[in-house]
Amino acid sequence: MSQPSSGATPRTRRGFDAVRFLEKYGTLLFLLALVAIFTLLNERFLSSRNVTNILTEVSIFGIIAVGMTYVILTSGVDLAVGSLLAFASMCGAWTVHQMGGDFNLTWLVAISIACVVGTAVGYLHGKAITLLNVPPFIVTLGGMTIWRGATLILNEGGPISGFDEGYRWWGRGTLLGIPVPVLVFALVALAGYVLQRYTRYGRQVYAVGGNPEAARLTGIDVKRVLVSVYVMVGFLAGLSGFLLSARLGSSEAVAGVTYELRVIASVVIGGTSLFGGLGGVGGTIIGALLIGVLSNGLVMMNVSPYYQQVIIGAIIILAVAFDTYAKTRRGRR
């Protein structure tokens, strides 16, 4: 279930170790098994329309999950992403509205504002954490309510809608048959993976998460790395917010409520440890897909949303329990 850290795992000298195999590929296998089961139960599951639906749904929170992977790798967390998604998107939509709403490139203004707002708020979170020494959990918990409140203030609680074609293309359009949000997700995921696996910055993030004091003594500017991961997730929350508003045709004050749970669950199911230093983007993508497939499949089976909550919650716990068990077992060797 865990994506091996870019340093891989200790070698096993025995033949086939079921637990290690499951640890590495378990989530992926589980995902494939779910797809198989749902297809058997309902042949429309793998129809191109449904697959497109799943992927587009997943993209919206998956984009944020890529950034959240970095945050959790530093053993931090960002609970404010759902609220930030709404706030950034509302800022973008509101600006477009103020400017009349019927000029060329409304989408450009909206996406720029949303991303800038997301980045700025992420920076604020990061600074609060590193300068005030308040734990990330608390800072972003506060942020969660603050930015939700700001969203409500901005348009007095109401939605903003009436976007033009160019704007809505970003949520509903396709390029080479692939929905635009999915393409954006693919790009973000690729960039996130490359950054983690091949760059110096990626190594620094793992170091800060694994042992912050040792990281400092090797000359890494730990505070700067910490601020950067919150900036990253903030930017991605803004981007997602824009895409969501494009897809729905309106920017709503209640957008993104409970998204933080889905995002964090994707990262954790994907194998990134909450204690930092282990895991990665690859696992997160599988985790996000798993959640998307599970939600969609259960809906197709007409399972009530109430049961859905129970099932998804149980799976999250089981996935992490297995991952912890597999890691402990390895540690004891």
């Binding site: 870019s6 340093g7 891989a8 793992y206 170091a207 040792a214 003594l217 090797t218 000359g219 060797r333």
Partner: protein, 514 residues
């Protein structure tokens, strides 16, 4: 056999790919202090874990106090039987008091509620029985390392321990504290409590232990009375060859002064009670020279090293490298100025245990090993890791293996390689051979010699006088934040150094600093 407390016979333990224990035996009598010796990887830890119940042996049996031990015992059950282990890294909760730590989970109750009065009273009686000077209400985190160890021993006594296993008990203690520990062990002996004493400090084993057992590569090599062997013999049994601390071979005279520390002062912060205040420290180090910092634990050597490196701020005074004055605020700036530090506690401050050897070794050098500015040049990286693997003879099956799987000695080598790869002007090695076996110690010393040979100014901090004396050209003695002497290693004697390390305040004023 009536006074035999512990009998271990024919114990075997296999891990994937390695036979950790091969028909190992051990006998400990009541009230005996038994030294368990062996290089790292010899099987000592595994044997101790089997004894404490943390691991199950594949074969063999154990008898304790006349009864056979059930191999399915949990550590808690073994502790109730009276076998208590004190590990090198303590199992204490820093935020709780001494008494709470001692009785954790077994606090005395009155009508179902915790009785603080009884808790402190009971703790105090055990502390007094040991002749310790501890207040049971003190928070453990404000105690020194040596005092924390005392708490661990007191805790062992609350279990009515009959056998106390001490794993490297003196690794972090000064000589004075070691003497206190030994006194306590003698008290335990007098109470008919046995001690298994695992250590790399063979002189201590000779001093305090009655009998010894040597393991090598998972096998029992020898066992007998300590009085019948010399330290030299013990070393030979452990490694199978004669090993001594080799003195630094004849070398070229040191070059120009590279590092100048002038009148450095540092006041501790309010929340750093255990950090030594530095008072007016000055020292020079030349290129190609090895300077040893000797002193008791807490004398200020590590504090000065961290200030030189930039890990802690300097309140007053100047630090110059090659003539240029530095105002270092971060370790990054220290590294950029050519100073590197191998930290004292490799587990907490040095290693990224879940990361690979490769990542551990190359992390600060990635600037040099990059392509397209931001990406890691993995080929160059592999070449660097291979270069240092050869140079330092680091034992690893592949460079992708997690750091946690390496022995202490190999981990230390990886950290040294990390620092060497930065091509420093000044290398500060803080306790570079702590907790590693004799053979590996000598290898680390060779590395330090080679660095000096290459023109690096080397500072070695060590609490083992024989090591400081063998490795250094000059020795600087510290005491309570002051430098009390600078001695040429060739002329130094252990007594002289010890005297300089333990001066009283009055004598500080009378003593001229060379």
């Amino acid at each position: 056999m009536a006074d035999e407390l512990l009998l271990v016979e024919g114990v075997c333990k296999q891990f994937p790919g390695v036979k950790a224990l091969d028909r190992v035996g051990l006998r400990v009598a009541r009230g005996e202090v038994h030294a368990l010796l062996g290089e790292n990887g010899a099987g000592k830890s595994t044997l101790l874990k089997i004894l404490s119940g943390a691991q199950k042996a594949d074969e063999g049996h154990l008898r304790f106090d006349g009864r056979a031990l059930d191999s399915s015992d949990t550590p808690a059950q073994r502790m109730r039987l009276g076998i208590v282990t004190i590990y090198q890294e303590f199992n204490l909760l820093p935020a709780l008091s001494v008494a709470e730590n001692m009785y954790l989970g077994r606090e005395p109750l009155v009508a179902g509620f915790l009785s603080w009065r009884r808790l402190y009273a009971q703790a105090q009686s055990i502390i007094d029985a040991l002749g310790l000077d501890l207040d049971p209400r003190t928070e453990v985190r404000s105690l020194s390392v040596a005092q924390q160890q005392m708490v661990e021993i007191a805790r062992a006594l609350t279990f009515d321990a009959r056998l106390i296993v001490m794993d490297e008990p003196t690794a972090a203690l000064s000589d004075r504290e070691v003497a206190t520990l030994h006194r306590i062990i003698r008290e335990l002996e007098a109470k008919d409590i046995s001690v298994i004493y695992v250590t790399h400090r063979l002189k201590e084993a000779k001093e305090i232990c009655d009998r010894y057992t040597v393991l090598r590569d998972g096998q029992l090599v020898a066992s007998g009375d300590v009085g019948d062997v010399e330290v030299r013999d013990m070393v030979r049994m452990m490694v199978g060859r004669e090993v001594e601390f080799l003195k630094r071979p004849a070398h070229v005279a040191p070059g120009p002064v590279v590092l100048q520390v002038e009148n450095v002062c540092r006041a501790g912060l309010a929340n750093e009670r255990h950090v030594t205040v530095l008072r007016d420290l000055s020292v020079d180090v030349r290129a190609g020279e090895i300077v040893g910092f000797a002193g008791l634990v807490g004398a200020g050597r590590t504090e000065l090293a961290r200030v030189i490196f930039g890990a802690d701020r300097c309140d007053r005074g100047a630090i110059r490298v090659n003539g240029t004055q530095l105002a270092l605020r971060t370790p990054g700036e220290g590294i950029a100025a050519g100073i590197v530090l191998v930290p004292e506690d490799r587990k907490q401050q040095g290693c990224f245990l879940t990361q690979s050897i490769r990542q551990n070794m190359t992390l600060p050098s990635l600037g040099r090993l990059s392509k397209w500015r931001y990406f890691v040049d993995e080929k160059a990286e592999t070449a660097l890791v291979e270069e240092y693997r050869r140079k330092l003879q680091i034992k690893m099956s592949s460079d992708d293996v997690a750091m946690i799987t390496l022995s202490g000695g190999n981990q230390q080598k990886v950290l040294l390689a990390r620092c060497m790869a930065l091509r420093p002007t000044v290398l500060i090695a803080d306790e570079p051979t702590r907790g590693i076996d004799v053979g590996a110690k000598v290898e680390v010393h060779q590395v330090l010699f080679a660095m000096a040979e290459a023109g690096v100014a080397v500072i070695v901090i060590s609490s083992e006088l024989p090591e400081v004396m063998a490795v250094s050209d000059r020795i600087v003695t510290f005491q309570e934040g002051r430098i009390t002497g600078v001695v040429q290693a060739a002329d130094a004697t252990e007594e002289q150094l010890m005297r300089l390390m333990t001066l009283t305040h009055d004598e500080h004023r009378l003593h001229a600093v060379a």
